[in-house]
């Protein structure tokens, strides 16, 4: 408890555990934030309904587990194409109409979508809390004085994998280059013959597929209920701003920073303080480095 206390084996175990908790919690935040930062960075749209797609992913895992006894790790493979499709449909029905509108209109639209999805879940599946308990969620792993569970480790590894894949995709593929070009200058991109509408549709679908997969992966760790997304989505904004809009690696590192602030703050000062700490950090970043820790200077104004 007392930081001034001599460093005995018990204290080292505490540090090790806090470190492990930080990394694993950061992995979960990154998983959720990657899709958000992609949509944010390329479409310049703040998707307030992001948390609700997470919630839908959690429900998918819950129903697959309850009705068909399917492990969430298996459902993951189904969820990616499924949520890609949901992303395309949502883009065509909702986002396409407001993509050229003002930011206010976009915010109202996505907030409306968020509330509509929450209430849809409430009507369809009631407000009860559900849990998914596959074998790996109930399997504690003990390693050198620390403890965690297998579901968390896998979620973390997939978060890393997903981030790296997206970074490679953006950097090395033709489609990735087209997406970056659209983000940098929409008008110039149109003049170069890029179909920006198609780029936005693809971006939105990839972002939603990522967050749907995140929902499936976190379902064994957190309760599933209609407003489950709210618990994470506010945090994802902190992460995205911290890492720099549209910067996937930044989102990963931002997630780890937020998780570290949360875990260390909870341990040394009390859990009640954690939100104060990371929102102070959030404001400080906005004031001193508006483009985020890893974003390009001026990127925050692009296309706005």
């Amino acid at each position: 408890m007392d930081p001034a206390r001599p460093l005995g084996p018990a204290q080292i175990d505490v540090f090790a555990q806090l470190g492990v908790s930080t990394v694993l919690l950061g992995g979960i935040y990154a998983l959720i934030a990657v899709g958000l930062t992609l949509i944010f960075g390329i479409m310049r749209v703040v998707n307030f309904a992001h948390g609700e797609f997470l919630m839908l992913g959690m429900y998918l895992a819950f129903w697959a587990f309850t009705l068909l006894s399917l492990d969430p790790w298996f459902v993951l493979f189904v969820s990616i194409p499924l949520f890609f499709g949901i992303g395309v449909v949502t883009y065509l029905l909702v986002m396409k109409g407001v993509i050229h509108a003002s930011h206010n209109v976009q915010i109202f639209t996505t907030v409306g979508l968020s509330t509509a999805l929450q209430n849809l879940a409430l009507v369809l599946w009631s407000g009860d809390f559900h849990t998914v308990r596959p074998w790996h969620a109930a399997t504690p792993i003990r390693l050198a004085g620390t403890a965690f569970n297998l579901s968390q480790v896998v979620a973390f590894l997939i978060a890393i994998g997903l981030t790296v894949l997206l970074v490679l995709f953006m950097r090395w593929t033709h489609t990735g280059r087209v997406m970056r070009a659209t983000a940098q200058d929409r008008d110039a991109a149109i003049l170069m013959g890029i179909d920006t509408d198609r780029v936005y549709r693809l971006t939105f679908a990839i972002g939603i597929a990522a967050v749907g997969a995140a929902g499936v992966l976190v379902s064994p760790l957190y309760a599933v209920y209609p407003t489950a997304g709210l618990q994470f989505v506010l945090l994802s904004y902190v992460v995205v701003v911290l890492g720099g809009l549209g910067n996937m690696m930044g989102a990963l590192i931002g997630s780890l920073i937020v998780a570290a602030v949360e875990v260390a703050g909870s341990y040394y000062f009390g859990t009640a303080w954690k939100e104060i700490f990371y929102f102070v950090l959030f404001i400080a970043v906005l004031v001193f480095r508006p483009a985020g820790l890893f974003g390009q200077r001026g990127a925050e104004n692009l296309g706005v």
């Binding site: 408890m1 009631s126 849990t131 308990r133 945090l235 949360e262 859990t271 939100e275």
Partner: protein, 426 residues
């Protein structure tokens, strides 16, 4: 001979049918018109699950009331409003009063909602009848027409420490001053109210309170490990945890992962560990957790007064018929409170605030006369008394919350005291 028997049966059936028809007809005549009251419930948002069950409890008791003469000679009916947050609670209370002309409002399940709702009702001089919230400030605002049938959070803290000192300490072979207790709680007025009163009471009776109270926001907590690591170092015998929703399964799962061993965990109220979702989430892994609540399975009907036995039985049967299970906490709070409203209206025969108030203050019924084995004695502030609103300690045993204390009210006994290793609680 055989024909005679069938004839007798046929006559009996006809007579019974006529009686039933006549009775129904008599009731139909007695209940002329409708009497509407306002009901505020969180039916959407984070409290929707419990809010819906609470409303279910109201509806079941409304039907029992209407089968028993209604209120003031009329059929009792509801105007229901959805109040997911305090702003909605205030504005919907205003709407029910000004548009629907209700003279009595009841609700709201949550301590987050009851303050705002009752404030709005009081401004219009309308009777506010709260059945569930436990915020201690509720009855300390000098509002004359605001009543609460459930005890407040200070009562919860009082009962919890009483249970720890009288029941747990002897079974751990510890004197109260040798018993170490740690407190964690969600930070709404509900958690804070229960926890502050429990801490004060624990210090009064000489328990060793270890560490400061660990408060957190139940809507944003994603990781309990830092708290658990801290608690492990404090090594408490009893963890007093007031949880709201998903924070209960999160703490329990992570405590298991971290192999955090303590002798007992005690909670209070129909949320968190006291809600049915905890059992569904944890199954047998939830074994051993205590939650202070209304009576659950094992509760002895014979321990109640004759009137209490009858209404309690009818209530349980009606809930069983509607939901297929034993009444849950939210059902019982709503049911107990609404039945008590009928008792008051039978006496007052009026919704005039003055006449209603004197009827409330005139009631003096011992423990065991109402639904949940409650009694009635209101204080001048409109609060039913701790001693009359009997509460019970329940324990999760193999996926079910059963009554275990006080032992004179129940056939079940508390198990796993002290709690063994995590994988040996079957």
């Amino acid at each position: 001979m055989r024909r005679r028997i069938s004839l007798t049966i046929a006559v009996a059936v006809v007579v019974l049918a006529c009686t039933a028809w006549l009775t129904a007809a008599t009731w139909g005549q007695a209940l002329s018109g409708e009497y509407k009251i306002g009901v505020l419930e969180p039916l959407t948002g984070p409290l929707a699950g419990e809010g819906k069950r609470h409303l279910e409890g109201f509806e079941v008791v409304r039907d029992l009331i209407n089968e028993r003469g209604g209120v003031m000679g009329k059929r009792l009916s509801f105007v229901v409003a959805d109040v997911p947050d305090p702003t909605a609670a205030a504005s919907e209370a205003n709407r029910l009063i000004t548009r629907e002309n209700v003279k009595i409002i009841t609700g709201t399940f949550s301590s987050r909602l009851c303050g705002a709702a009752s404030e709005a009702a009081a401004r219009h001089n309308v009777i506010y009848w709260e059945t569930s919230c436990v915020d201690p400030r509720f009855n300390k605002r000098g509002l004359k027409n605001v009543y609460r049938t459930e005890i407040d959070a200070t009562g919860f803290g009082w009962y919890n420490i009483d249970f720890i000192v009288k029941h747990l300490a002897p079974r751990f072979n510890l004197k109260p001053n040798e018993l170490k207790i740690a407190f964690i709680s969600e930070d709404s007025s509900y958690g804070q109210g229960v926890t502050e009163s429990a801490v004060a009471r624990a210090k009064e009776v000489g328990l060793q309170v270890v560490g400061p109270v660990e408060y957190y926001n139940f809507q944003t907590i994603n990781d309990m490990t830092p708290i658990i690591v801290k608690l492990k170092q404090l090594n408490p015998d009893v963890v007093h945890h007031i949880a709201y929703t998903n924070d209960a399964p999160l703490f329990w799962r992570q405590a298991r992962e971290q192999n955090f061993l303590f002798k007992a965990l005690v909670h209070a109220g129909a949320t968190g560990y006291g809600g049915s979702d905890f059992g569904k989430a944890m199954g047998n892994d939830g074994n051993g957790v205590f939650a202070l609540l209304e009576p659950g399975p094992g509760f002895k009907l014979e321990s109640l007064k004759p009137d209490g036995q009858k209404i309690e039985k009818d209530f349980r049967d009606a809930i069983q018929k509607r939901t297929g299970s034993y009444p849950l906490g939210a059902h019982q709070l709503a049911g107990g409170g609404l039945w008590l409203l009928k008792v008051v209206l039978d006496r007052a025969q009026s919704d005039d605030p003055e006449k209603f108030r004197s009827a409330v203050m005139g009631l003096d019924l011992p423990v065991g006369t109402m639904i949940n084995g409650w009694g009635v004695k209101f204080s001048e502030t409109g609060q039913n008394s701790n001693e009359r609103v009997q509460h019970y300690m329940l324990q999760w045993q193999n996926g079910q919350l059963v009554t275990v204390w006080p032992e004179e009210f129940t056939t079940n006994r508390a198990k796993w005291i002290p709690l063994g290793p995590w994988d040996q609680r079957k």
